[in-house]
């Protein structure tokens, strides 16, 4: 009887397992199809796009062409905005990592009055919505003359990236074994040496997670750049956004443009999955 039961349950398991696999495959396809649709749309001529859906390329593979990409790379608006994205993202990421590390180290290992209250204050800023700062900072930047510049966009991202950076790094640095720091101290290392030679290398994983998180955050931002950049300093997201109003007429710009803007984040995502996931987990409060 026991054997029969286990046979029965094994049968149920086999059937259930089959259903489960089919279900997960269907869901997986549903998650993939939209992106595939964008990719295939970007590989078709505008006439084909307005005539039929992207799945037509499966029956007519000859439709595939790189013309839209070739044309896009000759479009100065797009190429210069791609460069702007880099000019915004790289400094904004580096600055957040460096400034955040300095402050995180100070909060973890230095002694000064009100240390923990200052830190809690920073933690409180974690969930402040960027919307609160849009109007005041637009006026502030206008006054000091950096409204519309790359610098303004970078500064805004640094400001709103810092609470998370300080929070993450302080918690990570606090776990560094105290003996290591004391040993370095006894060897005569000064503050800066201690910071660059001991703390930063040991903080590697957290710094990587933060860097990747911040990089993707800034690279993918549209709202901040929409307000603080002008036509000369706008990143790719804003450049493409201006095209969306005539959606349909310029899908040959939008589809390849969107795909190009996705390539870097996707490459970063696949290359640094683990760091990205730990950044996301630590940032679950943001």
């Amino acid at each position: 009887m026991n054997a029969k039961q286990s046979l029965g349950s094994r049968l149920v398991e086999a059937v259930g397992g089959g259903v489960l696999r089919v279900f997960l495959i269907v869901v997986g396809l549903f998650w993939l199809v939209p992106t595939i649709g964008l990719l295939l749309s970007s590989l078709r001529a505008p006439e084909d796009i307005s005539a039929s859906g992207w799945w037509k390329v499966f029956s007519e593979p000859s439709q595939i062409t790189f013309d839209s990409y070739a044309k896009l790379l000759e479009n100065d608006d797009i190429t210069s905005s791609l460069l702007n994205t880099v000019w915004i993202t790289v400094p904004a990421t580096l600055l957040v990592v460096i400034i955040g590390s300095l402050a995180g180290y100070a909060f973890a290992w230095m002694e000064f009055p009100g240390r923990d209250w200052w830190f809690l204050g920073v933690v409180g800023l974690l969930v402040v919505p960027v919307q609160v700062a849009l109007i005041p900072i637009a006026e502030l930047f206008g006054t000091i003359g950096i409204f519309g510049s790359v610098l303004g966009v970078v500064l805004f991202h640094v400001g709103f990236g810092l609470p998370f950076a300080v929070f993450l790094l302080r918690n990570f640095f606090a776990e560094i074994p105290r003996e290591l720091l004391e040993a370095a101290r006894l060897d005569g290392a000064g503050e800066l040496r201690l910071f660059f030679r001991v703390v930063m290398p040991l903080g590697g994983p957290a710094i990587a997670a933060l860097g990747i998180f911040q990089f993707l955050w800034v690279w993918n931002d549209m709202l901040v750049a929409l307000i603080f950049s002008d036509s000369g300093s706008q990143p790719i997201t804003v450049a493409l956004q201006t095209q969306v109003r005539q959606f349909g007429n310029n899908i040959d710009v939008l589809a390849p443009g969107a795909f190009i803007s996705m390539v870097v984040p996707l490459a970063v995502f696949f290359a640094f999955q683990r760091q990205f996931v730990s950044g996301v987990m630590a940032g679950a409060v943001k």
Partner: protein, 448 residues
């Protein structure tokens, strides 16, 4: 105040167990390390909060004190009220559905070997910008079922369950032997006889809407004891070309048209036209009128208007879930990995079904993770902007409006900084409970 003012006790200045003093106590050094961060946070985050709060009490120009007028506008302005209503829909549905899906995916992927690949696929959209996701879903939600994937699937499902029609807009031409029979059907003006060849000409089907299999129409040939006939598109391009009510070589048959023979209101026989438009009815059709039922002429089903006023918000929420279900899944999967296996095994040994194990053991153990994920997504959804801005077309953007979008409009295109500030303060107030929770949780840790 020092780092650990816990329990009111006075701490010895250099307690060996405390974390401080490793780098000495030179405050200038600490200040130098902290200065860049604190200056930037002060100027870019703290100062704007104060500014927005003050600004929200002043009028449009910023010169006159407006009291709570701007806050009143939150509840009286038509646009803001729609935005508020939509934000509530967003906050209620988007985080819960994303978390529920994340939970389901996390639990199910544990049971297949390629679970990691699945997780990668679902998590991937988190890496891309909302702008790119917006463009992706503009394509998905294209109204035309031949172009938009959502409607292609929807129409496919729909047409599997209800017959698609082939000849929308077809109707009798001049001097036709057919007349309207009500309800969209057409019927012959006089009864038909066996041995007679019937012509059923219609006009008005656009050439690209003709069935793919349609062939050149063939004139009907009379057959004894049968009613035969042809139904075809009686139209040849060019004025005066082609003969009215007779088959010309350039004209196509109505392949697949349904024909019913009706006697005294009852259908006595029916047939379907061949590719060349010909059909044959048995002798029982003798004396009946031939009817082309309305089902031949229904407009084809064109799917849902995803980005129209009524569906636009759910449609955009769908794209958000596509982006963020992976986030919920990854966090929940991490929580799941820390659930003790023995507990689940014990429940199974006790005879609990898989569903009971899930419902009574897994979910309660995951409750804290589920709460964190839901709250995080709620904060995120509160500020939703890019997806709505990109996906909602101009015609339905008012219907899809959300607070962050309304703030952008009021502040940067309608020159209403007072009202925009009030919206931003309102958003800030909504996240204060979470802020407070974060600080409390951390204070406990810091004091540890």
């Amino acid at each position: 105040m020092t780092s650990v003012p816990a329990a009111g006790g006075t701490k010895p200045p250099a307690a060996p167990k405390s974390r401080k003093s490793v780098t000495g106590t030179r405050r200038t050094v600490a200040a130098l390390f902290l200065l860049p961060a604190l200056v930037l946070l002060g100027a870019l985050v703290v100062y704007p909060i104060g500014y927005s709060v003050v600004r929200s009490f002043y009028d449009q120009s910023g010169d006159g004190f407006a009291g709570i007028d701007n806050y009143q506008a939150l509840f009286t302005d038509e646009g803001i009220r729609t935005a508020l209503k939509n934000n509530i829909i967003w906050v209620v549905f988007a985080p819960t559905v994303a978390t529920a899906l994340g939970l389901i995916f996390a639990v199910l992927t544990e049971r297949v070997r390629w679970g990691t690949a699945f997780k990668l696929v679902v998590f991937m959209p988190m890496a891309i910008s909302m702008l790119a996701a917006g463009i992706i879903f503009r394509l998905v939600y294209d109204q035309d079922p031949d172009k938009g994937f959502a409607n292609a699937v929807w129409v496919g499902v729909h047409d599997t369950f209800s017959q698609a029609s082939a000849f929308p807009k077809a109707h009798p031409g001049r001097e036709s032997p057919l007349k309207p029979a009500g309800g969209g059907a057409f019927v012959t003006t006089s009864p038909v006889r066996t041995g007679e060849a019937v012509s059923l000409p219609l006009v008005g089907v656009a050439p690209d809407l003709m069935p793919d299999g349609a062939k050149t129409a063939v004139a009907p040939k009379p057959e004894p004891d049968k009613v035969t006939g042809t139904t075809w598109q009686d139209f040849t391009r060019g004025k005066g070309v082609g003969t009215l009510n007779s088959v010309d070589s350039s004209e196509l048959g109505y392949a697949g048209m349904k024909i019913e023979a009706v006697k005294d209101g009852r259908v006595v026989a029916s047939a379907t036209a061949a590719d060349d438009g010909t059909f044959t009815l048995p002798a029982s059709a003798d004396g009946a009128q031939l009817r082309l039922p309305a089902s031949n002429f229904k407009e084809p089903y064109n799917g849902l208007d995803w980005l129209g006023p009524s569906l636009v918000t759910p449609a955009i929420i769908g794209s958000y879930i596509w982006m963020w279900a992976g986030f919920a899944m990854v966090l929940i999967a991490a929580g799941l990995a820390s659930v003790p296996r023995e507990l689940l095994e014990a429940a199974r040994v006790d005879g609990a079904s898989e569903w009971q194990v899930f419902r009574r053991v897994t979910v309660p153990l995951l409750a804290p993770v589920l709460a964190v994920v839901t709250v995080t997504l709620m904060i995120n959804v509160l500020k939703i902007f890019d997806l709505v801005f990109i996906i909602a077309p101009g015609s339905s953007q008012d219907d899809a409006n959300v607070l962050a979008l309304e703030l952008y409009r009021k502040g940067f295109s309608e020159d209403q900084p007072g009202i925009a500030s009030a919206i931003s303060v309102f958003l800030l107030l909504l996240v204060i409970p979470v802020m407070w929770f974060n600080v409390r949780r951390l204070r406990r840790e810091v004091r540890r």
